[in-house]
Symmetry: C2
Subunit: 330 residues, 2 copies
DNA sequence: CTGTTAGCGCGTTCAG
DNA sequence: CTGAACGCGCTAACAG
């Protein structure tokens, strides 16, 4: 049976308005009364009622984590469900200690995004991996927002991963362990900006241009690219391969296994995303960890600030190299 | 700018109470007025304010999805994060079309569970994979609840998976495709009731007792068990193996690969859980799908009913065989 | 079946 | 810096 503000006011010997102020603008209350309120709150287990405060405030008291709905996810798309649990937990850790609640929401169309505003669903939006056009829709609602994880155009509020730095980190890991003959397997370079960034970051570190194969993303795409690369590896023209993401890397590993190429004996491999299920591979795949926890906790707290004080949000988080057995010193 | 009930009442030419009733007990309103309210609501984009209704109702308007917090998850534990995204989506699909909001919550101690009541955090609790002792704590709060997925003692409200039927389904799949020499790899049979149920279901279908290896759960445990089983497979004493879960099965596959035993050429395999990342294995692992979507949507709607009308909840959902390349007709 | 009315717990004026 | 008082949008009596 939760206590109410009025009871606490009585117990602490202050007015109800003072109790309210203690929770919304502590500095405007004298230290003495503030402490008395805190003490009474602790003694009687008082927590402000979120529904009442949101109602009074003319707000929803809700922060929305927004993602694109995928009706029938392909197997490859489902792998990224994986990240979702981490993302939720990171956002929750910040939101829970604010006066807001977290709400998960997915949209199928731009119309759905407009409806968020019209139906008054939330006070702030955290966009999970949305493309520029989708973020633009969110921006149009006028609700405070931040786009996360994916790189988006500079006019949007965003906290995202420095994909270029990620590619460069892979190259540095190879170079640091004595590799000299790099290759890169990408996926749909023409259509996927992220792939371009990773590739540009990777090539930036080498004196001579790495070999590059531009295949399809995903396990199957990786398998084909891996087969394409096998002869060159066998000839000794390539001693390390950076693969644009872990999912694609799984296909590469399968192709190399079929071609009797040993990892890391014959060639070293680094993936990207650090998806944990790569532990199902014969050897632990080195990868680039997205630091998603950092991205989303940063985004959530910046958004809360933005709701209060306005302004813009722009932060870039550098991913980190996650070592594995697939890289061997040469 | 969301519309309010009072405006809709005016537009529809009815009283405010009637509008309220249309959303809370539609049958108590004449069809004529009901339609007028719906029409006005649609025209002006009216949606009842959840904060206001929860406040007035003296409730929270929140359903909680509760799980145990794992501070530093082991790699094996992290694999089950996977299921979490599916669970959330299933629960959301039901809660979203009710007047409730979904809230995710984790606890570290029994004290945390008691605090849910004291702080008035929710009107109903969906327990995700909790053990009997934890469910008992939840039950003690007096808040309507349902325990999910794990089998729990009969005195608790629960919707869970029929693990015995799952084991039996694996046996039937083997028998139906002409297998005659079964084995089972389990994990910590003494301590894990689920493992016992799966094993009992499996053995129930065979005339002669299957070979059984009781190792440790997880990839490493499976690897050891797989090594132990290899000689018997090579001798032709075993033509099919049911493994207590997919994670353990991954270890088994690795061990058999090392022992140059071909799947499904030399032996057929069926896992349990149908975790999608088994697609990273050389062959698609047949498995038993938990039907978690069904479990959690059922649980959520039963819980909503329970909040309204009381009563008890007890449903058992049978898992389904999910075919794969790891089983071949003999 | 329908309308009138009294608060649910709180944030925020407005006076002091 | 503090307190009194109003009303956010809604549900649930109650009276017709």
């Amino acid at each position: 049976m939760p206590t109410t503000r009025d009871e606490i006011a009585k117990k602490a010997g202050v007015s109800t308005a003072t109790v309210s102020r203690v929770y919304n603008d502590p500095d405007s209350v004298s230290a003495d009364k503030r402490e008395r309120v805190y003490a009474a709150a602790k003694r009687f287990g008082y927590v402000p009622n979120k529904n009442a405060s949101a109602l009074r405030r003319n707000a929803t008291g809700t922060i929305m984590l927004l993602e694109r709905r995928i009706e029938n996810p392909s197997p490859d798309e489902r792998y990224y469900n994986w990240l979702y649990a981490d993302v939720i937990k990171a956002v929750k850790s910040v939101i829970d200690s604010s006066m807001y609640q977290l709400n998960l929401h997915s949209f199928a169309s731009g119309e759905d995004i407009r409806a968020i505003k019209e139906r008054g669903l939330c006070d702030g939006i955290i966009c999970h991996s949305l493309a520029d056009a989708e973020v633009a829709r969110v921006c149009d609602t006028g609700i405070p927002y931040v786009a996360c994880y994916r790189t988006v155009a500079p006019e949007f509020n965003a906290v995202f991963v420095d994909e270029y730095a990620g590619g460069a980190a892979a190259a540095k890991a190879f170079i640091g362990s004595g590799h000299r003959k790099p290759a890169h397997i990408t996926g749909e370079l023409e259509h996927v900006p992220v792939c371009r960034d990773r590739w540009n970051g990777f090539r930036s570190q080498w004196e001579r241009e790495p070999v590059m194969i531009n295949g399809l993303l995903g396990i199957k795409g990786g398998y084909e690219s891996g087969r394409g690369l096998a002869p060159a590896i066998r000839r000794g023209d390539i001693d390390c391969v950076f693969i644009v993401n872990d999912l694609t890397a799984i296909g590469v590993v399968q192709a190399l296994a079929e071609a009797k190429i040993d990892i890391p004996g014959d060639v070293s491999l680094i993936g990207y995303d650090n998806l944990p299920f790569t532990a199902t591979l014969p050897c632990r795949l080195a990868s680039i960890d997205l630091s998603l926890k950092r991205v989303y906790t940063t985004a959530a707290s910046r958004l809360l600030g933005n709701i209060k004080d306005g302004g813009t949000i722009r932060e870039i988080v550098a991913p980190e190299y996650a070592p594995g057995d697939s890289v061997r010193r040469r």
